[in-house]
């Protein structure tokens, strides 16, 4: 076997490895998307839980509207789902029916903003609603 032939074999192996690695990398990207979807879905469900809790408190008149604002404004919680810890931050703001901020002392509506983050097993931080772009819902005072 000549050196030329050996070189060609080595070149073929290097080329094949490149294709192999690229394909593997694409698969890892796909897997990453799948896991991201799972974490996002679980995060959304946690946020939905808190929205439901606030709604139930309003419906059942368990907390006054003022108390809801003070209880939930600035509240932070951590919840573990499938071994991943989700950190939630909630803020409340008096607003109009369209969710625009107001300075009314006794508002008829409040906007609840939620943002959440979690450290994924690979060390990356996953945001579900960011502080600048939170997941929001407007609540009305049924007994206004």
């Amino acid at each position: 076997m000549t050196y030329g032939q050996l070189f060609l074999i080595l070149l073929a192996m290097v080329l094949f490895s490149t294709i192999y690695l690229t394909t593997y990398n694409s698969l890892f990207d796909q897997a990453d998307l799948a896991y991201k979807g799972m974490y996002l879905l679980n995060g959304q469900k946690i946020i939905d839980k808190y929205f439901q809790e606030i709604e139930a408190n309003i419906l059942g008149d368990l907390l006054s509207f003022d108390a809801i604002q003070s209880t939930y404004n600035g509240r932070s919680d951590s919840l573990t789902v499938s071994d991943l810890v989700y950190h939630l931050n909630i803020t409340t703001t008096p607003c109009t029916v369209n969710g625009v901020d107001t300075t009314t002392v006794t508002p008829e509506f409040i906007r609840v903003d939620m943002s959440m983050w979690a450290i994924r097993p690979d060390g990356d931080t996953l945001w579900i609603g960011m502080p600048q772009h939170p997941i929001s819902k407007v609540f009305v005072d049924l007994y206004y």
Partner: protein, 182 residues
């Protein structure tokens, strides 16, 4: 003689090389299929959970008392009515063991065929935890105000010998029974 030995050597090396390529392609295919199944499972479980949530929204609708009939770790039975004081329906969400695998089914009015499901679950199955208005777990049935439901969906693996792992997705939801807060 040397030429024959060289030809044999080249054939062996080439053969190993081709075998490696084929094995790699099969491995990639197996992993690709599993990843694809994982993505599909996330989408399917999201759809299933949405429908389950719509069923849970009915808890105690139009029913004045005894809306929650049974609260077990792996099953939940409740009632709702078509209208206030109207025809009462009973819904049972239960984990079943069919052919040694756990499945989730939803039955309405004690029917023999599930209205929803069965959906294949992993060994974990489904787990209901009930809470009262003060977030205390496992209260008496009459005091239940919301439920936490954890379920793990599962797909079979692509092949038994390559990348053998079941494709799973555990999802956790909470459902507040708004009709019980009114």
């Amino acid at each position: 003689m040397a030429a024959i030995l060289e030809a044999i050597g080249a054939t062996i090396i080439g053969g190993i090389f081709i075998l490696t390529m084929i094995t790699s392609i099969i491995n990639l295919h197996a992993i690709g299929v599993n990843v694809n199944q994982q993505i599909e499972l996330v989408e399917i479980s999201e759809d299933v959970v949405s429908v389950i949530e719509s069923y849970l929204s009915l808890v105690a609708a139009g029913v004045v008392d005894s809306a929650i009939i049974s609260t077990q770790d792996t099953s939940f039975t409740y009632s709702y009515a078509d209208s206030v004081g109207g025809t009462r329906h009973i819904v049972n969400m239960a984990q079943e063991d069919i052919d040694d695998s756990k499945q989730l089914s939803v039955y309405v009015d004690s029917g023999t065929e599930p209205e929803l499901g069965p959906f294949e679950l992993s060994d974990f199955g489904v787990q209901f935890t009930y809470y009262d208005v003060n977030d205390n777990p496992n209260p008496a049935d009459s005091l239940v105000r919301y439920v936490q439901m954890i379920m793990e969906f599962q797909y079979d693996t692509f092949r038994e010998d390559i990348d053998k792992r079941f494709v799973r997705h555990r999802i956790q939801i909470w459902k507040y029974f708004k009709n019980l807060y009114l």
